[in-house]
Every structure is written in structure tokens, then in C-alpha cells.
């Protein structure tokens, strides 16, 4: 016992220092978030008004509005939803239930994981070349929708696979033991049970899509659009692109307009994420494995 030199005091001191540093750094995130939100609100809140929502962008900051961008975003996200969700869900079902073993399945899985990490601007380059130029869709909503769908497809597939995996095997076996085919089991039991998880993943993917700017700039979404799109072949602008446009301008007044635009965007995102939380809670109540 006497061979141990007592260094408790020093160790205790190191411990306290470490703990304090960790704690401080952790709560820094909260501080950052608060500062960011406060700054945006302070800059932009007073610019919010019904006019802001119904005006088109203008050279004059006082008259600038977000109508075209808001509608552009709504159009875009609806199209992206219609394209990516069926494909994403179908892919996940196929990969998880039909072809979950073997070399090819592993290749696809690795492939999807890698695609999830590709920078969004590369998807923009892809969209530009394939959809705008090769398919001749020009700088239209549908080209943007296809591009964004490709971008978020890996996210949806990964989330959907997780949701399907979370359904216990006992449910599958119970269905098979009653003489069900694979498709009947999937359609009647697995999909309904996995649906909340899939939806949560979809909403999170949509949140990402709404906030993306770079790919859309690449395919030519305009930064000055004074009309609401009327068909999927129309050119368009989106909330983030409009914000980018305003934020790039040197005039201080546009800084405030940009902040107002950000508030609108954040509100939209908040709504979507709240929906995701509600769905998640509903699922946890209904599917208590």
C-alpha cells in the first residue's frame, strides 16, 4: 500500500478541468443555436408581412417579396415527393425483403451508402448533364425535381430499410405460418408497420431537399423569377436560392430581406420536422413490440 504515491489532488484537478471543458463545449451548441436564431430574427422579423409573402422579388428591397420562391419550393418538393417516395420505398422493399443476401445485394448496399455521401453539387452536375441537356428538359421544375430526387433517394432508401428491419421476424413468421405469400406478408403487415419509420425518413429527406441550393443553381434555377410556375416545364426559383440571391447583394437592406426569407424557410422546416415527431410518437404507441 505504501508504494502508491498519493497524487489524488492532481488527478482530481485534471478531472474537474476536463469535466468543465466538456460541459462548456457541449452547451456551446445551444449558445450557437440561440445566437444564430436571434440574429436572423433580429434582422428579418420586421420585414415579415403579408406583403412579403405575396410580392415578387424586386430591385428595391422594400418591395421585395418571396411569393415566387415559396411557390417554386412548394411545387418542387411536391414533385420530388411524387418521384422519390415510390422509387425509394420500392427499392427498400426489394433490397430488404427479396434480395437481401448475396454479392449483388452487398454491392448495391455499399453503393447506396457511398451515394449518400456524394456532395450535393456533384448531383447538380449530374442533373445538368442528364436532365437539362441530354433529356432536353431545360432549366425546368421537372429537371430540378429529378435531380433532387436522385440526391435524396439514398437517404430514403436507407431510412426505409431501417424501418423494415425494425419489424420483428415473428410477425413475418406468423404471416407465413398462416399460408401467406411473400408479397401478402409485405403488403399487409410489413409496410403498415414500417410506414411510420418510412414516413419519418421521407420527411427528413424532404427537409433536406427544401434547403438545398447548389444542385438547383447548377441546373439553372433562376435567382430572379417574377412569376409563379404553372407547369412542370416552367423555370422556377426556390426559397434557398432566393435567400442566396438576396444575401449576395451588397446593400444592407437586402440583408434584412434575406433574413426574412430565412425565417420563412425555417418555419417551413420546423413544420415538417414537427410532423415527423408526431408520426414517430404515433408509431411508438401503435407498434409496441
Amino acid at each position: 500500500m505504501n508504494n502508491f504515491k498519493s497524487n489524488t489532488a492532481k488527478r482530481k484537478r485534471n478531472e474537474s478541468i476536463f469535466r468543465i471543458i466538456c460541459k462548456a463545449l457541449t452547451w456551446t451548441s445551444l449558445v450557437i443555436l440561440v445566437v444564430l436564431l436571434y440574429h436572423v430574427a433580429e434582422q428579418g422579423f420586421h420585414r415579415l408581412s403579408p406583403d412579403f409573402l405575396t410580392n415578387f422579388p424586386s430591385r428595391f428591397p422594400e418591395k421585395a417579396g418571396i411569393k415566387s420562391a415559396l411557390w417554386g419550393s412548394i411545387w418542387l418538393i411536391s414533385l420530388v415527393f411524387l418521384i422519390s417516395v415510390p422509387i425509394g420505398a420500392a427499392s427498400a422493399i426489394y433490397l430488404e425483403e427479396y434480395k437481401s443476401k448475396g454479392m449483388l445485394a452487398r454491392v448495391v448496399e455499399v453503393n447506396i451508402t457511398n451515394l449518400a455521401g456524394v456532395p450535393s453539387i456533384v448531383y447538380g452536375i449530374l442533373g445538368l448533364t442528364i436532365f437539362v441537356r441530354f433529356f432536353g428538359l431545360d432549366r425546368s421544375l421537372i429537371a430540378g425535381a429529378f435531380t433532387m430526387s436522385l440526391l435524396i433517394l439514398p437517404v430514403i432508401i436507407i431510412a426505409s430499410r431501417e424501418a423494415l428491419r425494425a419489424v420483428p421476424q415473428s410477425i413475418r413468421h406468423g404471416a407465413y405460418a398462416l399460408g401467406a405469400t411473400q408479397w401478402q406478408t409485405i403488403y399487409h403487415h410489413l409496410l403498415p408497420a414500417a410506414l411510420p419509420g418510412i414516413l419519418t425518413g421521407v420527411i427528413l429527406a424532404m427537409s433536406r431537399a427544401i434547403g438545398e441550393t447548389a444542385p438547383l443553381i447548377m441546373i439553372g434555377a433562376l435567382t430572379y423569377v417574377a412569376f409563379v410556375p404553372e407547369s412542370i416545364m416552367d423555370p422556377f426559383a426556390t426559397l434557398p436560392i432566393q435567400i442566396f440571391n438576396w444575401a449576395s447583394r451588397p446593400q444592407a437592406a437586402f440583408e434584412e430581406v434575406a433574413a426574412a426569407g430565412i425565417i420563412v424557410l425555417l418555419v417551413v422546416l420546423l413544420t415538417m420536422n414537427l410532423a415527423a415527431v408526431v408520426i414517430r410518437n404515433y408509431a411508438q404507441r401503435k407498434y409496441r413490440w
Binding site: 415473428s170 405460418a177 398462416l178 399460408g179
Partner: protein
């Protein structure tokens, strides 16, 4: 062991997981409308054997089998045999109750519906629940979620769901082992009642349960069929020493 009216006949059955031989060269027949228990220590292959009878082992990759299993005269592993069809006629109740996260009503009607049932669903639900001794407890809440039932009730629901398909054989894989003694007793009463209409094969590691509930007992040890006979005889005057040792608790 003399079987007068075999509904399932098994010849030289070997079951492998990959290279491991789990069931070794079993041959036996199952008597119709009787309860046959399969007993043996843990890991001796009972569940594997049971799951092979309704082709539930198909879902395990490394699983393969040779030998013949005939159900009502037809080889269930023949190239043109339809596992879906087989599972309609041979039902299964699992160790852990696995009701679907749907209403009690839907749990029972789903199986018949996907198999094209044309009759009165309400009547089917009532009959099945009565057959599983669950009707009185749930008749007023058929639309509630099956997950709101207790463990014992869920298991009886699974039995009701199984008999709603009007199978010919019911395979039970340790159906009472996850239940408390009271629920367990109720399931045993149920089995006694069900054998009038169905052939039952039950795997259990609870010897006393096997003795209480079954007409015939099959003793499996390390994948080998050691002894097969009428329950009364096997438990009072077993032919093989190994059987006697197991029953008297010298190993387990």
C-alpha cells in the same frame, strides 16, 4: 410404435444447417387426431424437426434436408410442392405469442381472407375465439389492438388465428413456455379440447406437460430419435435406458 391412421409420415429424415447435422435419420409417423409430444433436452433438434414439417425452415439459408416427409400421401419437399399451400393446411403456434399489430378481429380474419374465404367473417371470428377459449374475454373489444391483451390471451389469440384457417395439423413450438403457470394451464386445457378436430404435434421441454397433454410421445436426443410410444407407456415403462434417465431427471 403402431400408427393406424398416419397423417404425417417421415422417413430417414436428416436436417442440416450448413455442415452441422441437427436431426439424424428420423423415421416415424404421426397419428391423426391425436396429440403427439416431442420431448428432449435443449438443443436436441426438436424445434428444427417441427419447423421442417411446415417448411418454415425454408427461411434459413443454410438449412437443407434429405429424406421424405409425406403429408396426406404427398411429399412436401417435392419440386412441385407449394409451401404456401402446405402452410395453409399445417398451422403453427410459436413459442412467443406473435399477434399482428392489428385489431383482434383482423388478426383472425386476415389469414382466411387472403386465402379466399367466402363465408361469414363475424361467425368465423366467434367460432375461432370460442375454440380457443378466448371469446368471453374479448367479445366486447374485438376492434381493440391485439397488443393490448395479456401474454396468455395473446397466445390464445394466436391459437384462434391458427384454427380460423381450419388446418389439418397444428404444430406447436413450446406454446406455453413463455406464459405464466395459470395461462399455461389454460393452453393445456385448450390442447385437450382441440384434438377432437385437429392433429396436434407439440414440442415441449416440460416433461410433465407432455405427460399431461399428449397421447404419444417422441423422445429426441442430439437429433436422434431414441424412443417413440404411447405417452403412458413411455413415461411409466420406457424401453430405452436413455429415455428413463431423461425422464427421471438424471440429465436434462
Amino acid at each position: 410404435m403402431v400408427i393406424n391412421d398416419p397423417i404425417l409420415s417421415i422417413w430417414n429424415l436428416n436436417i442440416r444447417y450448413g455442415e452441422t447435422l441437427a436431426v439424424k435419420n428420423n423415421s416415424f409417423e404421426i397419428e391423426k387426431n391425436q396429440v403427439t409430444a416431442i420431448i428432449g433436452p435443449s438443443g436436441c433438434g426438436k424445434s428444427t424437426l417441427l419447423r421442417t414439417l411446415n417448411r418454415m425452415n425454408d427461411f434459413i439459408d443454410s438449412f437443407n434436408t434429405d429424406g421424405i416427409i409425406k403429408f396426406d400421401g404427398d411429399d412436401i419437399y417435392a419440386a412441385d410442392a407449394d409451401p404456401v399451400e402446405i402452410r395453409r393446411r399445417i398451422g403453427m403456434v410459436f413459442q412467443k405469442p406473435n399477434p399482428f399489430p392489428k385489431s383482434i378481429y383482423k388478426n383472425i380474419t386476415w389469414g382466411p381472407q387472403i386465402n379466399g374465404y367466402q363465408g361469414d367473417l363475424d361467425k368465423l371470428v366467434e367460432e375461432s375465439l370460442k375454440g380457443a377459449a378466448l371469446w368471453d374475454e374479448v367479445k366486447d373489444r374485438l376492434n381493440e389492438s391485439a397488443l393490448s391483451l395479456s401474454g396468455g390471451q395473446q397466445q390464445r389469440l394466436c391459437i384462434a388465428r391458427c384454427i380460423a384457417m381450419r388446418p389439418e395439423v397444428i404444430l406447436m413450438d413450446e406454446p406455453a413456455s413463455a406464459l405464466d403457470p395459470k395461462s399455461s394451464a389454460r393452453v393445456e386445457e385448450l390442447i385437450a379440447k382441440l384434438r377432437q378436430d385437429y392433429t396436434i404435434v407439440i414440442v415441449t421441454h416440460n416433461m410433465q406437460q407432455a405427460a399431461r397433454v399428449s397421447d404419444n410421445t417422441l423422445f429426441l436426443y442430439e437429433g436422434e430419435l431414441i424412443e417413440y410410444g404411447p405417452t403412458k407407456t413411455l413415461f411409466t415403462k420406457p424401453e430405452k435406458k436413455q429415455t428413463e434417465d431423461y425422464i427421471t431427471g438424471r440429465f436434462g
